[in-house]
């Protein structure tokens, strides 16, 4: 299935892209699985999505936990802990 992945702030700079549409292999149906899928790309992705990295996730613009499910057409955003206010 296809999802839209977005990266913000330091994560966007680290990966050198604001995001992309990606085709996911079967079995990648949760945020946690998508994270390991991205980590598996190696290079900057390996560090950005390591277990130690503080990465927050929003699915369809709603903050979620790693166990949250994703489905075709979802907008999945990854970003560092927020620092507004």
């Amino acid at each position: 299935m296809k999802v839209k992945v977005l990266f913000f702030a330091g994560l966007r700079e680290q990966l050198g892209t604001p995001g992309e549409e990606i085709e996911l292999p079967g079995g990648v149906t949760t945020v946690a699985a998508l994270r390991s899928h991205l980590r598996g790309r190696g290079g900057p992705y390996e560090k950005a999505f390591s277990d130690k990295a503080l990465v927050r996730t929003a699915v369809n613009q709603d903050m979620v936990q790693p166990a949250a499910r994703i489905k075709a057409g979802d907008e999945v955003a990854f970003f560092p802990p927020v620092t507004g206010g």
Partner: protein, 149 residues
């Protein structure tokens, strides 16, 4: 209820007047965040930002008697002394106004998708989230507000 994510500056007095019109309003509590000594750029996640603030405001209105409120958050390049954020809450009495205003600010700090990048002489750097901000938001979760640490 007004929620605005904007590049432009805002006028606290004008915003307070806009939410004070109702005859039942007896108190308006407001907070304005200001850039300290370092110039910065604020990035956000258009679409989600407004929705996240809306959720926080709705939660405040469910917990306290809120007659009206205004939340404005700026993005883009900001200089020391510039205003960043405004939260103003109108209510019948000050207790609700103070509590709701502080609640919205505390949650905004941990839930609204904004990121600050500071531009120092030695280079630009993303600001790291503070554990104290998480703790400030968490103290509202058991229903009775604890004193800030």
């Amino acid at each position: 209820m007004k929620i605005s994510v904007q590049a432009e500056d805002f006028d606290l007095g004008a915003e307070v007047r806009k939410i004070s019109g109702e005859k039942t309003v007896g108190a308006v509590a407001s907070f304005v965040g200001v850039v300290r000594e370092v110039p910065m750029t604020l990035e956000h996640y258009p679409g989600m930002t407004e929705a996240a603030i809306r959720k926080i405001v709705d939660e405040a209105a469910a917990r306290w008697k809120v007659t009206d409120c205004s939340v404005i958050h700026r993005y883009g390049a900001l200089q020391p002394g510039d205003q960043i954020v405004l939260v103003a809450v109108a209510s019948a009495h000050r207790g609700d106004a103070f509590a709701a205003c502080e609640f919205v600010m505390d949650y905004l700090k941990t839930q609204a998708p904004f990121w600050k990048k500071e531009h120092r002489a030695e280079g630009a750097q993303w600001v790291e989230a503070r554990a104290a901000d998480d703790q400030a938001a968490e103290r509202w979760q058991d229903g009775s507000r604890k004193k800030a640490g």
